[in-house]
């Protein structure tokens, strides 16, 4: 069974702190790892990673993938209250029939307090 596990499940930090969110996976036929941010509505895309060791960066957010150890981290530096959201990790994979699907983890709920 394909599995995507995120930790911690929830986190409360103060503005200006740096946070690291973790995502580990056990899947067959891995294709990609994706990070999303979900506030009240639908998830919004942050990063897609397919190669080990290459950091993706966008402003204060960055992410890296380790395909050997089967995990990824999402870093947020100098957190702001607007970063409060659920951060979702997802893995794109091919199923037994060769069809491609995306499986999500449980999410990490981040709350940034002033």
């Amino acid at each position: 069974e394909d599995k995507v596990v995120q930790s911690p499940l929830s986190l409360v930090v103060h503005e200006g702190d740096t946070v690291t969110l973790n995502c580990s996976y056990e899947v067959t036929n891995f294709r990609s790892l994706l990070w999303y941010k979900q506030e009240k509505k639908a998830p919004t895309f942050l990063f897609m990673l397919t190669s080990s060791g290459i950091e993706k960066k966008s402003g204060r957010l960055s992410s890296i993938l380790d395909k050997k150890e089967l995990f990824s981290i999402l870093n947020i530096t100098a957190t702001q209250t607007g970063d409060s959201a659920v951060y979702l990790c997802a893995v794109g994979l091919s199923d037994s029939g060769g069809y491609q699907k995306v499986t999500f983890g449980t999410g990490t709920k981040l709350q940034v307090i002033p």
Binding site: G92, V102, T106
Partner: protein, 113 residues
């Protein structure tokens, strides 16, 4: 901005009714997905489609059914709604080549009384 639309956004309906949640995208994407998400909980894949006339069941068993007669349209149907079907249903699509970014619709929040 993603061009993927879901209707209705909100639906309150009685037990036993048949409902169809509509999902349409104008990006020409071959792959489309339905996810179910309860408040504060994770997204569960319930159906996906590789292209026209291709549909597969997802990781979470669901009594709903889907069809893909046209590339842009991926409706989800519940023949007889029950209170256990109360949830948010999110539709998404992605491009054919590889497994890339999912573009999500705004969601359909279903309440079955």
């Amino acid at each position: 901005e993603a061009d993927i639309y879901q209707t209705p956004r909100y639906l309150v309906i009685g037990t036993g009714k048949k409902i169809t949640l509509e999902c349409s995208q104008t990006m020409g994407h071959d792959k489309m997905y339905w996810y179910q998400q309860d408040p504060g909980m994770e997204l569960h894949l319930i159906h996906y489609s590789y292209g026209v006339n291709s549909t597969e069941k997802g990781d979470l068993s669901s009594e709903s059914t889907v069809s893909r007669i046209r590339t842009e349209h991926f409706p989800l149907t519940l023949e007889s709604a029950r209170p256990s079907h109360t949830s948010q249903y999110l539709c998404a699509s992605s491009e054919y080549a590889g497994v890339g970014e999912l573009f999500f619709g705004e969601g359909s929040r279903l309440t079955v009384l």
